[in-house]
């Protein structure tokens, strides 16, 4: 174990640590990916428990399981947890682990910035959940419409919401900038943009969305914070402020955010389906192009969340048209996935089941989305359970299904071991049936007029039976999750050894050992086609040159430069988290956090990124 000081003196030895310090100081994208994945999976379970309590409260009319205030906190925290602490970081886990492997790189562009992103995410997650300690959770909905967030109407929970999201924003922004540079600038020789795997493409698009969408939320949160802390009249209608401005700022971020949540899943299944169908993705260019089109359109449709706020008829018409346009690229994607399946040789193993399940449930979410893209119809659906059904078909039936597809697909690469197929199939079928039982009846109960975000309802509204079914569905999903947890823990240590390429893969990540060595590629591959591994395995198929992939035998891996481990990213992140947390107590105190961050940034700037002397 070399210490940090040896590296400082310019000795060529590399700074590394072992054990817990090894995880804290790691700058290895694969270990950071695992940190993201495990943290996010923990919060996924937390968010799931919150949802379970919510559903149990709604099991029958007039239930008294939790207080109204607690119920409001639970649905707020469920949304915040699932969006910011589960689905986004699960996506980030894949970006971290997989992207460098798919583009043939040894790490991301800025390994220490990458570590910083993770630690800031962790502290943001802790701040957002800090309300549990003080019994003042956010209870204004994840959308936090002003003026309900003003100090007159909501307590300190809103401060945890503001400070937690600001910190998470720093993390997302740093990670997104890092991945844009990594993907555009660190591709292996020959990997042109149109040879990138679709998952890499979608990650690039998501990163661009984050870079341009998140600052708008940051500004909204700053204004909200200044209104709460310093009585500035931003959204205060008594002083001429406009509460609708918050909604504009929030949804200009919030709608791209929806695509930030769904596009990773689309990328994942675009990689899985060709592998298990043994044929290339149908219409690669159109699938990528649709992703780009969705990203562009996502900035032009935010007001469809605001059809009932009193926008002009013209604005409503324009935004409904733009919203419906999104159905076109989405439809193109679905049809291309189906065309990829057509004529293939479909191996229905667990990752493939999740991918086909994704198509089935995501289509339902897409279609209900088109229904309330029509503003008059939206006035009868908005804020009813119909919308709850829609978002869960998109986020559970879409994002989560895609993420589980990805977990089963890449688990062998991450751990070197296969997950158990039987348990995996139990997990899939229980989740698939459970989610349809839970969220399917919500369409109907919404049409029967049940509003969202109500902690209780009387009997005699025609909702009782359907709510019971929905609550039972949750327990089917939980049963599925138990199979997953059992499978993951067991397979991590004792699963069948996977080997480099267990699925007969097509892209670069399957050319290297599982789990990959720290340097990933002993020699950087040269890419001649879109599916380099597949083409090198089947030279008879095409006129492509087979791709050169790493022949590691004749390479001295000791000579590969890898970056130094560093604890400064974690310390800088502590500064950011502390600064934001203390802001809730007293702005003067939060200067201490700023000072820690500044010290961290200076030390970071002056320490060598890699061993010197080479």
């Amino acid at each position: 174990m070399a210490t940090h000081s040896t590296a400082i003196k310019g000795v060529t030895e590399r700074a590394t640590y072992t054990g817990l310090m090894g995880w804290i100081t790691t700058v290895d994208h694969k270990r950071i990916g695992i940190l993201y994945g495990c943290t996010a999976m923990f919060f996924f379970l937390v968010g799931g428990l919150e949802a379970t309590v919510v559903r149990m409260q709604l099991y029958s009319p007039g239930m008294d399981l939790v207080s109204p205030g607690m119920y409001n906190s639970l649905f707020t925290m469920h949304a915040l947890t699932m969006i910011f602490l589960a689905i986004m970081p699960l996506g980030a886990a894949f970006f971290n682990f997989i992207i460098p492997l798919q583009i043939g790189a040894r790490d991301v562009a800025f390994p220490r910035l990458n570590a910083f992103s993770y630690w800031v995410f962790l502290f943001g997650a802790l701040i957002l959940n800090g309300g549990w300690l003080f019994n003042t959770l956010p209870n204004v909905g994840w959308f936090a419409y002003a003026p309900l967030t003003a100090t007159e109407y909501s307590g300190a929970g809103t401060d945890f919401f503001i400070c937690g999201l600001q910190v998470l924003g720093v993390s997302s922004l740093a990670a997104a900038c890092n991945f844009i540079v990594t993907i555009l600038n660190m591709r292996a020789p020959g990997m042109t943009l149109m040879r990138m795997p679709v998952f890499t493409w979608m990650t690039l698009i998501i990163s661009l969305l984050l870079v341009f969408a998140f600052p708008v939320l940051t500004v909204g949160l700053i204004e909200l914070m200044f209104m709460r802390f310093y009585e500035m009249p931003f959204f205060n209608s008594n002083q001429g402020g406009d509460p609708i401005l918050w909604q504009h700022l929030f949804w200009i971020f919030g709608h791209p955010e929806v695509y930030i949540l769904i596009l990773p899943a689309m990328g994942i299944i675009s990689d899985i389906i060709p592998t298990f169908a043994r044929k290339p993705l149908f219409g690669y260019g159109f699938v990528v192009g649709s992703g780009v089109a969705i990203a562009f359109l996502s900035f032009a449709v935010w007001a469809h969340h605001m059809f009932t706020t009193g926008l002009s008829a013209l604005a409503v018409s324009v935004f409904s048209g733009a919203t419906m346009l999104i159905a076109i690229p989405t439809g193109v994607k679905v049809l291309n996935w189906m065309a990829t399946l057509w004529g293939g040789s479909l191996d229905l193993r667990t990752p493939m089941l999740w991918s086909i399940g994704f198509i089935a449930t995501f289509v339902v979410g897409g279609l209900s989305g088109v229904m309330h893209a029509s503003p008059p119809v939206d006035t009868q659906q908005q804020d009813t359970y119909f919308i709850v059904a829609h978002i869960h078909y998109v986020l559970f039936g879409g994002s989560i299904m895609g993420i589980f597809a990805g977990i089963y697909y890449w688990f062998p690469k991450v751990t070197g071991r296969m997950m158990n197929e039987t348990l995996g199939k139990w997990h899939f079928w229980l989740s698939f049936i459970g989610m349809n039982v839970t969220f399917g009846p919500m369409h109907i109960v919404g049409i029967l007029g049940m509003p969202r975000r109500i902690y209780t309802y009387p009997s005699g509204m025609g909702w009782d039976f359907l709510n019971q079914i929905e609550t039972i569905g949750v327990f089917i999903i939980i049963a599925g999750m138990l199979f997953f947890l059992q499978n993951a823990f067991r397979s991590w240590k004792n699963g069948e050894i996977a080997g480099d390429d267990p699925w007969d893969g097509r892209t670069l990540e399957w050319t290297i050992p599982s789990p990959p060595p720290e340097y990933n590629f002993a020699t950087i591959p040269v890419v001649h086609s879109r599916e380099p591994l597949w083409d090198s395995k089947h030279p008879e198929l095409g006129d492509h040159l087979p791709s050169v992939t790493g022949a590691s035998d004749d390479v001295d891996t000791e000579s590969i430069h890898m970056p130094n481990a560093s604890y400064w990213p974690a310390i800088t992140a502590i500064g950011v988290g502390l600064g934001a947390a203390l802001l809730m107590v007293n702005p003067i105190l939060s200067i201490s956090g700023v000072i820690i961050s500044i010290v961290g940034v200076y030390a970071w700037s002056f320490e060598p990124a890699a061993p010197e002397g080479h």
């Binding site: 109204p68 209608s237 679905v334 291309n336 293939g344 289509v363 209900s368 804020d383 509003p451 198929l541």
Partner: protein, 346 residues
């Protein structure tokens, strides 16, 4: 293989059937049903709804049947050789870019028609102003001089324009059978309009999350015949009835506990407050506590005894002296007297 395909189809049809069975209930049994229009505006929305529903259903079945068929047909068999490595097909791509566009245009044209048709109220519509408060509704008929709370009366077949305001946070006004949702935003004047086409009592709720008791903010919209509406209006314009007996005792208690600091009762000089529902003719309303409780002696007594149970976070519990100072606490006799007073306010 064939039988499993058929069973998937049966399940899908079953789902559709179940959806229909549930969706075709009526307002007698399902008070907030969104597909049971009783006004011109909701009828127009319903027409659009049906187009969208069938378009979505058609696409749903096309995709599901296709997906199930493909999955079974191309499932890997041991004899499979390498499938043909097709990379795409440009005419096909163009076809399925255009196809959804056509469907969308079919949806978009009637959508825009309905948006513009329902945008502005006809000239000379009857005016109502509804103001949202945490968690009750203030209702004013500026042309008629009527002010009331939590119960909207409209005459049948008369276009009505409702101006929506809010005194605190954002609420939303929604009576699914009569009018679609519209937000009530502090500092903004939103408007909706409708012409009710069938007599009856319709349910309305707040459908924008507005705090602790968002679930407990309801009202009734009653469509009256022209004569009934006239009679209602005449009664509302009158001052409150002078109470007698136990009710008069109730008024004493009402006044001595400072209830009038927040509530208005026309004719009671000590009841001029504007922060709480107007009670002038509360005895004639169907419900109390913003659509939460029945207007009978038992429910009124329960409400006065412990408002927090019905409406957590309400201002009456927070500000009412009888709930915060033991010296002013209400005895059971006080409550019965107050009930008598409230019931007398016909």
């Amino acid at each position: 293989m064939v039988s499993s395909k058929r069973s998937v189809l049966v399940v899908l049809l079953g789902i559709l059937l179940a959806t229909f069975t549930f969706a075709c209930g009526n307002s007698e049994t399902i008070p907030l049903h969104t597909m049971d229009p009783k006004s011109d505006v909701t009828r127009d929305i319903q027409g659009l709804y049906i187009i969208l529903f069938w378009a979505a259903t058609a696409v749903f079945f096309a995709v599901m049947i296709g997906l199930v068929y493909i999955t079974f047909k191309f499932k890997r068999k041991p004899t499979d050789s390498m499938p043909p490595q097709t990379h795409g097909n440009r005419p096909l791509e163009i076809l399925w870019t255009i196809l959804p566009s056509v469907i969308l245009i079919v949806i978009l044209i009637p959508t825009w028609q309905v948006i513009y048709k329902t945008a502005n109220a006809p000239e000379g519509s009857m005016q109502i102003t509804v103001t949202g408060n945490q968690w009750w509704w203030e209702i004013e008929y500026p042309e008629l001089g009527v002010k009331t709370s939590n119960e909207v009366h409209v005459p049948i077949d008369v276009p009505v324009e409702v101006t929506l305001l809010s005194n605190d946070v954002i609420h939303a006004f929604w009576v699914p059978q009569i009018t679609g949702k519209k937000d009530m935003v502090p500092g903004l004047e939103n408007k909706i309009w409708f012409t009710a086409e069938q007599l009856g009592t319709y349910y309305g709720v707040c459908v924008e999350f507005c705090g602790d008791s968002h679930a407990n903010m309801k009202f009734e919209l009653i469509v009256d015949s022209a004569e009934d509406f006239e009679a209602w209006k005449t009664n509302e314009l009158a001052k409150a009835i002078e109470p007698e007996g136990l009710a008069a005792e109730g008024m004493e208690i009402f006044n001595s506990k400072g209830c009038g600091g927040c509530h208005t009762i026309e004719g009671n000089p000590y009841a001029l407050g504007i922060q709480a529902p107007i009670l002038t003719h509360i005895g004639s309303r169907n419900k109390i506590a913003a659509g939460m409780l029945e207007n009978n002696a038992n429910d009124i007594a329960n409400w006065i005894r412990n408002p927090e149970e019905t409406k957590p976070g309400n201002l009456m519990t927070a500000n009412g002296v009888m709930y915060n100072d033991n010296n002013y606490a209400l005895s059971e006799n006080d409550i019965q007297a107050l009930v008598a007073y409230i019931q007398s306010l016909k």
